[in-house]
């Protein structure tokens, strides 16, 4: 459904992305993993229209697109849930869900219509929000993430990009968000999941795309990838700190404690 080919992006002297390719199909969760500075965020920002690529093409639903801003990308059908700073604490759940795309009737806000739709959305995600008329500040981290994800669904997008959705969450809340991701997939949406957490990625992703130093480093189907292989792909060669630590540990294990 979404297909990126040969995407490049430079920031001054830094080649942030070179010749990156990515495919997302409907009803598929694609995890985007990589070390800090691997170019995941840059790639996500290009897809969501925050940055413009220097080269390469984005093809969405068979047509080439050039989103120039998150609002524009959302009109096309690509919604992004950013890592932080995306909800207004002082507004209630309904206001946040429809922020920037309020429903209006005769010039005034259609509060009833929005509240009804809010409940429908939250139900479709089996979300546990006690009331949609309480300010966001009253919600837990997982509930906030739920609201943020529900908000991305307001314009009925086809692709949802989740940037580190579980970064600040506890165990139960992380599980809640992972459930949400599976429900998005069940609704036939394409999901791009950016994460540092290998356990989360392996729990929900169908495919795992590894980026390293601004390039495609490897791609795995989730059932055939081991954590060791993933880590090796993320860190690059076997000749590095992580690999040598693992090797040392294995060695000491075989020697056994004295």
């Amino acid at each position: 459904m979404l297909s990126l080919t040969g995407v490049t992006k430079r920031f001054g002297a830094v080649q942030a992305l070179s010749d990156v390719a990515l495919d997302v199909r409907a009803g598929e969760v694609v995890a985007l993993v990589g070390d800090n500075g691997a170019g995941k965020s840059t790639l996500v920002k290009i897809i969501s229209g925050v940055y413009q690529p220097d080269g390469g093409t984005l093809v969405f639903d068979g047509a080439e697109i050039h989103p120039d801003g998150p609002a524009d990308a959302k009109r096309v059908g690509i919604a992004t849930v950013f890592q932080d700073l995306s909800l207004c604490d002082n507004l209630d759940v309904v206001a946040n869900l429809f922020l920037g795309q309020e429903r209006r009737g005769a010039g005034v806000l259609d509060e009833v219509g929005m509240e009804k739709e809010a409940w429908r959305l939250l139900r479709s995600l089996s979300a546990k929000i006690p009331s949609v008329r309480i300010p966001i500040a009253a919600l837990s981290g997982g509930q906030r993430q739920t609201v943020a994800i529900a908000r991305s669904l307001v314009g009925q997008p086809k692709i949802v990009i989740l940037d580190e959705p579980t970064a600040a969450l506890g165990v139960a809340q992380t599980a809640e968000v992972l459930n949400l991701i599976e429900r998005l997939r069940a609704q036939g949406l394409g999901v791009i999941l950016v994460s540092h957490n290998m356990a989360d990625v392996q729990a929900v992703a169908d495919r795992i795309v590894v980026m390293r130093l601004g390039r495609n480093a490897a791609e795995f189907r989730v059932e055939e990838a081991t954590t060791e292989e993933l880590v090796a792909a993320i860190t690059g060669a076997s000749d590095n700190v992580v690999a040598s630590r693992t090797a040392r540990r294995d060695q000491s294990r075989t020697e056994g404690p004295r």
Binding site: N90, G100, L109
Partner: protein, 416 residues
Amino acid sequence: MSGTVKDPTAADLGDERLVQQKGFADAIRASWRRIRGGDLGSVPVVVGLVVISVVFYAMEPIFLSSRNLVSITQFAAPVGVIALGVVLVLLLGEIDLSIGSVSGVGAAVMAVLVVHQSQSMVLGLIAGIACGVAIGLLYAFLFVRLGVPSFVFTLAGLMGFEGVLYLVLGKDGTINLPDGNVFVRYMRYEYLPEPIAYLLVVLISAGYVTSRLLASRKRIAAGLSGVWVPGLLIKGGLLLLGLLFATYYLYIDRGWGYLWAFFVLLVMVMNFALVRTAWGRHVFAVGGNEEAARRAGIKVTRIYVSVFVLCSTLAAIGGLLAAAQITSVSQSSGTDDTNLTAIAAAVIGGTSLFGGRGSAWSALLGILVLKSIQSGLNIVGVDSSSVRLIVTGGVLLLAVSVDSVARRARASSGRG
């Protein structure tokens, strides 16, 4: 009998964690919980008004006379209009320190055009308001394009526009407006005819109840919970009784002035714009979390421009009203304590200095508190501005402290 419409399928009451409200006692308990949680609303300021009334009445019963109350409303209106603009900038978490000077400039331009250049009053008013619009646009440019903090450019405006005021007034320093002028007459001497005042009061109460009932019916039709009808009727009845009594009492003397009625109308319009329109929603969003608002696709710069322009425009309008009320414009117009009073009124009325929290009504309540104190001090014979300033400063400090404490209570009880 039941707290909310008994409808087990109401979509918004399904969660078992939600505390259900049943009946009168629960409604009161819920309000108490809200206040404890730092969602103070207009409670402190209403308590303040009661305390002020009792204290000054005990010292000098004339304080609560019809004549004095009418005077308080009339003198509150011009600065109240200015405070309404301050509420808007505070909602964005910004500040405007120059409102007093801007109000002076607007009034001076009007006075010079009408008295010295013999232009029509309409042209004078338009020119005065246009000054406010222009200053607001300048502020918006400085803020949005150059990124100057609002504290700095409005501080510059405070001094700069006071200079402009002297310049516009010229060597005379004072311009008296003709007493027979229509604008001056209506703003200074004319009051709403008594039958019309009663009619308006009834219409306002009925309108409040009807709109709430219609909204409730629409909610029930959409499968959501409705309002508790007896509670709504009690509220509407109390509102009607209160307004009827106030009208009766004020009409022992002169009654509701056109000036005051105009101010209340402005507050109601602004409240509607803030609560019911997308623009208002966006103002609260930008004040609450600017980055989130931007990412949601809100044109944040437009919100800033609209608010700075509205604030300066309301300041200019307030200046024009004040000029009509005292029938003159002088070098002291809008300079002595207008700034402090207008900003203090907005904060005392319950609009947070931290942005994203407040209401148009806070301008009205806040200015009533401050003008009551001022009037009370005059009546009990403390006529020096020194005491008045000290008291106003103290009340402002108290209001800001309450705001800060309430903000922490909200943070710990999850009310944003």
